[in-house]
Symmetry: C2
Subunit: 639 residues, 2 copies
């Protein structure tokens, strides 16, 4: 196949990966390339911050920031398009992606989803247009993953009809807050609402923090988090409140309000449920960070594969030329399974964005769909961001000394995305959350990240364990039915792969449920029970995400009309599935899902797939959809 044909097929793969919001992706590729948003890695932090702020103004003109807000509030009302456009920013500049995400996704999202008409009227249009710069002050020095235990207080004073925001301890300081370091003039502050001597849990308040000249307002002390690994263009900072007063109206009161006299009212009686309902509306942040992680991984892998297609080292006998890196089996093994995983995760992300769009655009709230969505967003955020960390690291190493230079971008990608595994919930905590939701069948009593609920409410009996499919349900059922597991299972059959993934999840879930129930009956303490099973719980979460991702891949292939693209995607899907099986094949043997001889074939099959995909390496990279002009790696032009 010559290069032109490679590229043509690559574009058809790209179409398959672009999915429902393909027009937004196409528009972003055009606009981002024109805007030349790649920042200079040598910029000092002050210049980088100023530059990113300028770039945000360019984004306003593209109209994408408005997409995340309802038409009634001054937006253009297309959630899916909005999240897709943010994901694409990762191709250009991750500081810009994060800063835009803070302004329009987190801060804007809090106003949009937790506020009511008076807040929408006062803030949405201004924040879309950057006339109002905000920040999202949730995390504190002492509490990140455990948001329910935030210490900042907002105490209602009926005499003045104000809330008094206060930082009672050193660990209650708001920390790592994007925008708080320099640019934000207002903060969406999460604090324990106290009225009439009673605490009602975490609520969100609009709190002005700086005047127009950038000076701290009375009672507010801002400071800068200083240098970070990356994201030099984001002004992360800290906020300390010393009895700062805001009007009663500044409570974002969609789910709860305080009357003039201090009476607390909420449409959701259960405090726990109320808290997680509020938090659930903010799901967009988690979806966006996962999407951006996936996009950054695609950039990194595109650079490394293209480099491996031009770089030669060591001779082959009978040839004057040295061997291309991409022709070494080891190099194929290092990069191609990661490329396959990028395909898989992009298709799963597309499904997720679609599901979120539908749930959030529906006239009525479907509570179960919302819960399922939250679990999936948590799991895919962890999968995408861990993949980014791993893939970009491997890409750096695969490019040797050249990979270490800033001019080749990989180390900047790594430094910028490294915190994504922490952002919007630590990945280990999120993976456990996924498992807990499955284990407790979305029981209202145990929402959130508290590990103990898992033990107390692991009420599923074995008969309850049903694996819910998230994509292409009837097709997948047919494939699974046609490929029963057994000694002669064909590992390259899609049905076998689906069965193995599904069976592992089901078994892990059943056994951990049984284990927790059994231990609970013995009367041991809940924390010890949970803790002894923690690795098992994490395995459930991981197996679930692996299965959801494989199902999305199967659905994505099914939706592809072009036969050549479809065939190639099938092979990429094989590589994804077999790489997952290879890494965990001890489990499949130990639990008699695979015979020893069948399991032993897996590494050879992975080698075989790498060899078969090698001639398509450039096509696969074209398919990842990062325009060559946006890779920003000097070494790719030196060849």
């Amino acid at each position: 196949m010559d290069t032109t044909q490679d590229q043509a097929l690559g574009l058809r793969l790209r179409d398959a990966l672009d999915g429902r919001w393909h027009d937004i992706k196409a528009q972003s590729r055009r606009e981002l390339a024109e805007a030349e948003l790649l920042t200079d890695p040598l910029m000092d932090s002050a210049t980088a911050r100023a530059t990113v702020l300028e770039q945000m103004k360019v984004l306003v003109d593209t109209g994408t920031p408005a997409m995340g807000f309802a038409v009634d509030h001054g937006g253009s009302g297309d959630v899916g398009a909005s999240v897709t456009a943010f994901e694409m920013l990762a191709y250009a500049d991750l500081s810009l992606m994060v800063k835009a995400g803070v302004q329009w996704g987190l801060f804007g999202g809090a106003i949009e989803n937790l506020g009511t008409e008076r807040h929408h009227r006062a803030y949405i249009k201004r924040l879309i247009d950057l006339d109002l710069l905000g920040c999202f002050a949730m995390t504190e020095t002492g509490h990140g993953s455990n948001v329910q235990e935030l210490e900042t207080t907002a105490t209602y004073d009926p005499d003045t009809q104000e809330f008094v925001l206060h930082t009672p301890t050193a660990s209650a300081r708001k920390d790592y807050i994007g925008g708080a370091g320099q640019h934000a003039t207002v903060a969406a502050v999460f604090a324990q609402l106290v009225t009439a001597g009673e605490t009602h849990g975490v609520h969100c308040f609009v709190v002005p923090i700086r005047d127009d000249e950038g000076a701290d307002l009375p009672g507010v002390t801002t400071s800068d988090c200083g240098a970070k690994a990356g994201l030099a263009g984001v002004d992360n900072g800290r906020l300390v409140f010393d009895r700062v007063r805001v009007p009663r109206d500044n409570l974002l009161n969609r789910y709860a309000d305080v009357d003039e006299d201090g009476t607390y009212r909420s449409s959701i009686e259960n405090a726990n449920r109320r808290f997680f309902t509020m938090l659930g509306t903010l799901i967009r942040g988690r979806v966006s960070v996962g999407g951006a992680g996936g996009a950054a991984a695609r950039v990194g892998l595109s650079i490394a594969v293209r480099y491996a297609l031009q770089r030669r080292q060591f001779g082959a006998p009978g040839s004057d030329e040295e061997v291309l890196l991409m022709d070494y089996l080891l190099h194929q093994r290092r990069l191609l399974p990661l490329v396959a995983r990028s395909y898989a995760l992009q298709l799963a992300q597309n499904e997720l964005v679609g599901a979120m769009h539908d749930v959030q655009s529906a006239d009525e709230v479907d509570e179960l769909a919302q819960r399922e969505l939250e679990g999936r967003a948590a799991g895919l955020k962890a999968a995408n961001t861990w993949h980014a960390t791993r893939a970009i690291q491997e890409a750096r190493e695969a490019c040797g000394g050249a990979g270490y230079l800033a001019e080749n971008r990989l180390v900047l990608l790594k430094a910028d995305t490294d915190v994504f595994t922490t952002f919007e919930g630590d990945n280990h905590v999120l993976t456990q959350l996924v498992a807990k939701e499955l284990l407790t069948a979305y029981a209202d009593e145990v929402r959130g990240l508290d590990p103990l609920g898992m033990v107390r409410f692991a009420t599923r009996t074995i008969a309850d364990v049903v694996v819910e499919r998230t994509a292409a349900q009837s097709l997948i059922q047919r494939l699974v039915d046609a490929s029963p597991l057994g000694d002669d299972a064909d590992l390259l059959s899609r049905g076998t792969q689906l069965s193995l993934f599904e069976d592992r999840e089901k078994h892990l879930l059943e056994t951990v449920a049984r284990r927790l129930q059994r231990a609970r009956k013995d009367g041991a303490d809940a924390f010890a029970i949970f803790n002894a099973a923690q690795d098992h719980v994490v395995a459930v979460g991981t197996a679930h995400v692996d299965r959801v991702v494989l199902e999305a891949f199967v659905a994505g292939i099914d939706a592809t009309a072009d036969p050549e693209a479809k065939a190639l995607l099938g092979k990429v899907c094989d590589l994804y599935a077999l790489s997952v099986l290879e890494a965990d094949r001890a489990w499949f043997i130990e639990h008699k899902r695979l015979t020893v001889s069948r399991a032993k074939e897996i590494p050879s099959l992975v080698n075989q797939l790498c060899r078969e995909l090698r001639p398509h390496a450039l096509t696969l990279v074209e398919g990842l959809g990062v325009p060559e002009s946006m890779l920003g790696a000097a070494m790719l032009h030196d060849a």
Copy 2:
């Protein structure tokens, strides 16, 4: 156990890890702490470079740079002490470690080991005292791992009795050269020696590159590599030579010389053997980079474990306080196996430094010992630097948002050490080199990194495969003999662990030898044969290093007199061994080394060891030997 007792036991563990050059380590801890060498992460590159150069002058006064050079040449002649002191610099500042390594280890080492009396007299004293700043110009844009194919030429001109250094192509440009960016005035340049129309392979030449004012000398063009991921204090640069003339005397002529009339002479007739003999004398660089990687991993893990002993998140029922991160099984599983691996690698590094010292200080060259040493240095360099990448990454993630701030040092450690997997030979290439040396029984014909030699000279028959022990030989033999493998093998028996590690290496080696031989007989092309087996070859190298490291751990425990320290080290060794077995347990099942039921126990045993070591977490970190005052992580003082 109270904190004082923890610390006392920690110090006894530290003694066990400090090994033969414990006095140098103690001295370094004192001196480095006094000198306050931790650089400010906010420094710009120009300031960082100047600062590191100033810090080097402080090092001169400590006397450690002189240790790497013979007394006759103006040094103090203690190779082991010299390498140990460099390793310790990683506790302070990695830019300093690298820049010092370039000046005294690489540049100085080339003069010392490849030069003769006239070079020693002219340069050694001056370079020790920093009156002469040099660089080590080996790597080119086109060739890093494959040094034999460097393109720079040094053509002898008998008319003027000069060598003419020249960069014939763009890919022949010297690249990534530490010191070439700004400070070095002279370079040790590796180039193809050409005389009388014949090329004699790569040799090393002393080439002045800058005048006293820092301007490029005629014919030399230096340039700067620009920003990197880290190592801001190191001035990496590029060198291009346009027919630069140096006197004939500037050839470092210990192993080969050119007469006035252009006649080439060498004491080593075989060109390949000559090249690798020269390269072999430069082993110190590889040993030092591995050592520094190990040290950086210890710093990272010390920070993360100490943080996990102060940071709490999520509540335990019946307690007002949240749970310490270190009390979560998952957190133990993330950090403690890495801590155990740091212990293992430090003991292996100590053995390596000792062996190098003995080989290099011996009156006669023991060729086999030298070859064995080179293989071990390559393998441990890869193991130590990959461990650094992995451990520091995990440490960063385990510290959440705080871990992402420069003030907590982890991201700087990560950025600085990231290139160590590339420095001094790409880790994947080095791991294959280890395997090739074993496979070819150190055959002279196939030295070096050329993958094809492996196929051509894999002459060992199965009967030849003997696993050579590198430490505590008779003790290990006794332990292995006492623990035959079988269905009732006790995985916590040291003999069983040693047998499993040894057996895996032997089996992998035998089978890959058979595979390569068989394929060769079929008459297929050598590259295809090698390439199809590349993952198998890498597995041999990895299994060998795992075994060498375990044996060093066993020897290290044996050498520890204190019974309490010895017992604790034993448990740490169990965790190291079982973590390795856990990751590769599919292999042990598939090759009938472990029954399925035995293999299935391994994850539970790892959990059990983590639980048992949890109360000793602080002790273990004290034992890693990084003084708390040198950790440089702001968050550890906030508690």
